[in-house]
């Protein structure tokens, strides 16, 4: 390796920041937040540097750092950056300062809170950059710890249950995944994603599994079992219907900034896993199970939208909306696995779906985080109230808050001109071209999403002003500065998504070329 | 001609002498002296094996002994400090007097 280890630096900076923040004296109010923000801006700057250094003309891994780490397990310290990773790194870089600047719990030990957020960022960076299962899994699991602590220590009234449910649920999924990977390792001796993807593409992986284990099963069944284990781990994280019940609880109970990170980053780790692991390494299996998987995706979309319709807690609505939006990602991912004639020019559909998934990942991270931030701002003003019917007519007293949140809501429901639309359009375009029925089934989701998001606008912002909130302050300058970048980005991506697409375009092409 | 076993036997003798001191003497300092002897015999073994070993250029034995000496110095310092402490506490250096842990 001849270049400077930028990627390692990216992981280290937030962790160092966490330490520094934790050690910051808590006597000066706000100092911890400033320090943490400073570090998060440094990592954002580094992410931007990566973007500049990144050569978007190739789809291969760049800035690779690889050292032997655990020779006995054939596990290397292997970091690399492609369009997908870079996209998520950028997202992480953006969301973290956003979350840090969002309303933080007013409890003591706020410095620890900020430090944990930074630590979480470091883990997430690690997960997005790792190219080796062991290493990736390490970050994946380690990210649970700060997340758990953040929910458990600073969460809402039933935080304990939510935190444990979140932790145990995710851990259970991870164990399934770990078992799957152990099987792979025993069969192939590999943990490296790229090498495994190679095997998966050639179909040698299934054969190797068949050679290594018998269990009186066909190799295909074994492959399905292994893929199923990994699917389970990822599915809990994303989450996929019906493994999503932890999510509303966790998102609702978590403090605002943590909700933002949970929805903006941690759920993306699941999608990332689907894109980095399941799809490249198990194309056969995904193809074999495509119909059920697509049905699951559709169920995720439709049921979560419907469930959101029945909620009265703003955070719960947003949580379900988050599931719904990730459902579109899943839809696109599973549709991409369709077997198509090579050379028929049909790749356009796959490219559209995959590009859409990538975009949707970014957009949802941005929009959902912004929405949670807004709810947090409202909550901070109302003293913890965030029921759908607790408000009314807020537009009168807080026009800026309502206007910006309205923009975010419209972005979330996929209004053209805002970021949400482009991704959804591409996903649906690709999915429809590949598996039309799934797209059609998922379509009502778009409508229901609109219904419940407009309900928020209607109940909270419109109508006669609730007498309790006549003195509700509008956004302060600092708060405006917190949310303004996100809103500006929504507009920018909605109007001119080309830079973002260019960033991962080659990765999309390469990923698709590698699919059978 | 001197061969390896010459030195090994010397070393074994040193070790046994030290061991005997550790086993039979009642004075803590004497026990420490025994231990030092045993350590020396180990070091001697290292040097002997290095000298007669297959790859003297690797200097492994020498390096080991160097570190061993450093560690032994630390051990002696701490051990003696402990002895002083024990002495202050029990006003004795006889091991029969410090069998508090006797089951």
């Amino acid at each position: 390796m001849t270049h400077f280890p930028l990627l390692s630096l990216l992981i280290v900076i937030p962790l160092a920041g966490a330490v520094v923040t934790a050690l910051t004296p808590s006597t000066r109010a706000g100092l911890g937040r400033q320090v943490a923000l400073g570090f998060s801006f440094v990592s954002l700057a580094l992410a931007l540097v990566l973007w500049i250094r990144f050569d978007s003309a190739t789809g291969t891994m760049q800035l690779v750092e690889r050292f032997s780490w655990i020779p006995a397990l054939n596990a290397d310290y292997h970091l690399g950056l492609d369009g997908l990773s870079l996209l998520l790194v950028l997202l992480t870089g953006i969301i973290t300062p956003f979350a840090l600047a969002a309303p933080a719990p007013a409890a003591r030990n706020r410095n620890i809170y900020f430090a944990l957020v930074l630590a979480l960022q470091g883990m997430v960076f690690g997960a997005f950059l790792s190219l080796n299962f062991i290493q990736w899994f390490l970050f994946w699991e380690l990210s649970l710890i700060p997340a758990f602590l953040l929910i458990r220590l600073w969460g809402g009234p039933v935080r304990s249950a939510a935190a444990y449910q979140f932790f145990v649920y995710t851990l259970a999924g991870s164990i399934a995944m770990l078992v799957g990977f152990l099987a792979i390792f025993l069969a192939t001796g590999l943990f490296d994603f790229i090498a495994l993807a190679e095997l998966g593409r050639n179909g040698e992986l299934t054969a190797a599994l068949g050679d290594r284990f018998s269990f009186n099963m066909a190799p295909e069944t074994l492959g399905l079992l292994v893929a199923g284990g990994i699917f389970l781990g990822l599915a809990v994280k994303v989450p996929v219907f019906p493994f999503h019940t932890w999510l509303p609880e966790a998102y609702t109970q978590a403090p605002t900034g943590v909700s933002m990170i949970l929805t903006g980053l941690l759920s993306k780790m699941g999608v990332y896993g689907f894109l980095r692991i399941l799809l490249p390494i198990f194309p056969e299996q995904v193809q074999a199970m495509q119909t059920p998987l697509l049905l699951l995706a559709v169920a995720t979309i439709v049921f979560s939208a419907l469930a959101a319709l029945a909620q009265t807690d703003l955070k719960r609505i947003l949580a379900y909306s988050s599931i719904n939006h990730l459902g579109y990602c899943l839809l696109g991912i599973f549709a991409v696995a369709t077997v198509i004639d090579p050379g028929a020019g049909n790749n356009s559909g796959r490219e559209a779906a995959l590009s859409g998934v990538f975009l949707q990942v970014f957009n949802h991270g941005l929009t959902a985080a912004a929405l949670f931030c807004f709810v947090g701002l409202i909550e901070a003003r109302s003293g913890g109230l965030r029921g759908l019917d607790d408000f009314g007519g807020l537009r009168k007293v807080a026009p800026v808050l309502c206007g910006l949140m309205g923009i975010s809501l419209f972005s979330s429901l996929g209004l053209p001109g805002l970021n949400g639309f482009v991704g959804e359009f591409l996903i649906f375009k690709g999915t429809f071209a590949l598996t039309g029925w799934a797209a059609v089934l998922a379509l009502p989701g778009l409508l229901i999403t609109a219904v419940f998001l407009l309900r928020i606008l209607n109940r909270v912002f419109s109508g006669p002003l609730n007498a309790n909130w006549t003195g509700l302050p509008d956004l302060s300058f600092r708060e405006r500065m917190t949310v303004a970048p996100a809103v500006a980005l929504m507009f920018f991506i909605g109007i001119y998504p080309a830079p973002l697409l260019e960033l991962f375009n080659q990765t999309v092409i390469v990923t698709i070329q590698l699919l059978p | 001609m001197l061969t390896l076993e010459f030195f090994l036997i010397i070393s074994a003798a040193l070790f046994s002498l030290g061991f005997a001191a550790v086993l039979t003497r009642r004075n803590v300092i004497m026990i420490l002296i025994g231990i030092e002897l045993m350590l020396s015999s180990a070091n001697l073994n290292f040097i002997a094996f290095w000298r007669f070993g297959p790859d003297p250029d690797a200097l492994t034995g020498v390096l080991f002994v160097l570190f061993s000496i450093a560690v032994a110095a630390a051990e002696a310092a701490v051990g003696l400090a402990l002895i002083i402490l024990i002495y202050r506490h029990f006003k004795s250096t006889n091991t029969f007097n410090f069998s508090l842990l006797n089951g």
């Binding site: - | 061969t3 040097i47 003696l80 400090a81």
Partner: protein, 171 residues
């Protein structure tokens, strides 16, 4: 060094070392034991030099004779033995017998093992001594970490020893 000289040196060193060691463990006066120990250390250093490891030999001299032995002496002076050295009695010998027996057994077992293993008998050493440059090089390259750790250990030992031996505060 010629074989004869080596033999002579070996013989002398054996006598000195083992004699001093025997004295160190058996003398009744504890100060004499300490002094004999120093002599035994000198003998061992001599063995090192005889074996071609001059550097280690002088280090042994510097550390063991110059520091450890002196330290032991200091401690001897700082702690007063329980009463005067007791005169030799058969009763004391009887009590020491199991220990002596075990030590002797250990010696015998080891010696027999050495004597019966063929591999230890072979191999004439070629006259390759320690190259200081090579040693230093190895210390700061491949053995850098142990070196550092040893430094830390010594520092810790220094502080620990000082703290132990410091006079306890009465309050």
């Amino acid at each position: 060094m010629s074989t004869t000289a080596a033999f002579i040196a070996y013989s002398v060193l054996t006598l000195v070392t083992l004699g001093a060691a025997l004295a160190a463990v058996s003398l009744r006066n504890i100060v004499h034991c300490g002094l004999s120990l120093a002599l035994a250390f000198v003998g061992v250093a001599g063995f090192y030099i005889l074996l071609g490891a001059e550097f280690v030999g002088f280090i042994q001299l510097l550390v063991y004779v110059g520091a450890v032995a002196v330290l032991i002496m200091f401690v001897i002076l700082l702690t007063r033995p329980d009463g005067d050295p007791q005169p030799f009695t058969f009763d004391r010998l009887r009590r020491a017998l199991p220990g002596l027996g075990i030590a002797l057994a250990v010696f015998l077992v080891i010696t027999i093992s050495i004597r019966t293993s063929e591999s230890l008998r072979a191999g004439a050493p070629d006259d390759a001594g320690v190259s200081i440059e090579a040693l230093g090089h190895k210390l700061v390259t491949s053995h850098l970490l142990p070196l550092q750790i040893t430094g830390v250990l010594l520092t810790a030992a220094l502080i620990g020893a000082v703290l132990f031996a410091m006079k306890e505060d009465n309050n």
